[in-house]
């Protein structure tokens, strides 16, 4: 088997007292799109930043193509950056306002000394064409472009070196629906043509359902459930995933009003002091005694099904009375 493009093992990132990421492991295979889903405060963006070493992990390891990069110096990291790029959420702050589009997209080429001058300009033009922008755009400044066009420029910058891995942090969340659709189509097309792997970070379930091969659901710094997209959407096993799916807006008034929503009590607890036991137990409609004391492992008891970190799934601590609740909402 080939090495996974990205392998994260027991990643921990604490900002002072805030436990943003608290023991997270995941792998992304070649050409695979992993949707990392979570609500605000789940730590999903921190994972992306750690992968790109925009922030230093507190502990754990990150391996790119089998090579541990967790402790590489910035200088040693530099050549590896050819293979990993990032697309950001905010199309307004992610492009240097003083650079022309050509300068923005050619930066990675110049930095890694892969092309200069005319050759660089030609490659930029070709890349812009790939992301659906006319080459006249090259002389423009970012503020002269619409949000969707800027996001295409961000994609062009991330992809011009043909990286093996792209970390996309909510790349379409700031866009209007019609623009979002074309950018999502573009990302799927480019991913298929260029074959890069992708860590797609988002809060929007419908977006990852559309384009991810596999999903990992995060809650308070940990993955609570992970599995192939179709399987996870068809049979969510963790009560949090179930609640998330049941609460997602459905653009169909008949279905939206018929379905039973699982309304979660209370708020997401502070990552300063995550609850003991299962982190979700304070909001879980199915919590029982063991949930308050024993932290469930993200492990799979029976073969064939995808893993979920819940005592109801692992069966070990499950009181039999709670079983029927598992099918709630779906």
């Amino acid at each position: 088997m080939t090495e996974p493009v990205l392998q994260i093992d027991s990643l921990v990132k604490h900002y002072g007292q805030v436990r943003a990421v608290d023991g997270l492991s995941l792998t992304i295979g070649q050409g695979e799109v992993l949707g990392l889903v979570g609500e605000s405060g789940s730590g999903k963006s921190t994972v992306g930043k750690c992968v790109l070493r925009l922030t230093e992990p507190t502990s754990g390891t990150i391996a790119l193509g089998g090579r541990d990069v967790t402790h590489l110096s910035r200088r040693a990291m530099r050549p590896l950056r050819r293979d990993v790029h990032m697309v950001f959420q905010d199309p307004y702050s992610s492009l240097n306002p003083r650079f022309s589009i050509e300068q923005i997209v050619s930066e990675p080429l110049l930095r890694h000394k892969l092309a200069r001058g005319r050759e660089a300009a030609e490659r930029v033009a070709a890349m812009l064409e790939k992301v659906g922008l006319r080459t006249e755009m090259m002389t423009r400044l970012p503020h002269e472009l619409s949000g969707g066009q800027r996001q295409r420029v961000g994609l062009a910058r991330a992809l011009i070196l043909e990286p093996k891995l792209v970390v996309a942090d909510e790349p379409v969340s700031a866009l209007d629906v019609s623009v979002q659709a074309s950018v999502l189509n573009l990302i799927t097309d480019l991913q298929r043509d260029m074959g890069f792997s992708c860590l797609f970070i988002t809060h929007d379930l419908s977006v990852v359902e559309f384009l991810a091969d596999r999903i990992a659901v995060m809650y308070l710094g940990r993955i609570v459930e992970t599995g192939p997209t179709a399987e996870l959407f068809a049979g969510p096993r963790h009560p949090y995933t179930q609640a998330l799916l049941s609460a997602a807006p459905v653009p169909d008034p008949v279905k939206a009003r018929e379905r039973r929503r699982i309304v979660l009590g209370g708020d997401v607890p502070s990552p300063l002091d995550p609850p003991a036991g299962c982190r979700f137990h304070t909001r879980c409609p199915l919590a029982f005694d063991a949930c308050r004391t024993v932290e469930p492992e993200l492990a799979d008891p029976r073969s064939g099904a995808h893993p979920a970190a819940c005592h109801l799934v692992t069966a070990e601590h499950r009181p039999d009375a709670a079983v029927p609740g598992r099918t709630i909402g779906y």
Binding site: S40, S178, A248, P251, P253, D267
Partner: protein
Amino acid sequence: MSLLDVTDLTVGFDTEDGHVHAVKEISFSLEEGEILALCGESGCGKTVTAMAVPRLLPPHTTRLSGSIRLGGRELTTLPEPLMRQVRGSEVSVVFQEPMTSLNPSFTVGFQIAEVLRRHENLSRAAARGRAVELLELVGIPAPAQRIKEYPHQLSGGMRQRVMIAIAVACSPRVLIADEPTTALDVTIQAGVLDVFRDLRDRLGTAIILITHDLGVVADIADRAVVMYAGRAAEQAPVEELFARPRHPYTLGLMRALPAAAVAGPAGRRRLAEIPGMVPSPLTDPDGCAFHARCPRRQDDCLAARPPLVRHGPAHLAACFHPGHPGEQP
């Protein structure tokens, strides 16, 4: 006569770059206890339309014409002191960003009580008691403790509930909510939408919901106005709108949603795109504003602006080529 009648509302702004046509000839009505969604993408004029009702648009640069009647009373010409009474007690607003809308230096209880004391002349104790009731109404647990807390001690969802409590403190007849759940997580959003539904059911409040999210429209609205480039493209009861969209823009929006593609046939999924961009609001061409992006475009679309035409009970669409009613989104 409806509770609120907006007729031929046109709003423009004078800016350095010229006159911005924000809203053009919008008409709609709102019944008591109805939830009306104004939906569309950025710059379509949905917020301007709604904010024209309580006259919350910048007074010096706004050019407004048309009529806004609330309970038979014309608001566009109402003197400002009277308008101030209308705001808060008859029409109130919930904004998108709950953090910046609350004053960080006062407890939430004080902020709710302040509104009550100003508009209803309640005593301090009575206002406090009412504040607790209001927090309970919007589903905040342990309201007697919560009124002593400051905004920063509350989560985003709780702050938005407090904002709703303040907005409904004086039992307004019309509540305007501007993207009230956009800044919130989905699991929180569902609860806040329930609060709006509950207010309508228990108090009979009429609600104008401004949103870009068709999922929210489908979930809670009774009727929706889909806006494009400052005009109403389509207007219909929600079930009708989603079952039989007649304007190609409405159809395009529905097909562009990732959920629509997922629901479609498996295999190579693609989202339906709406090519091109929204026309500049500095211009107001004669033809259909959507024609450049429209798959059904014909010559007549450029020649004249399609009027809103009735396609069924309460279903209006502004399109010369409204397609077949059976066409599914």
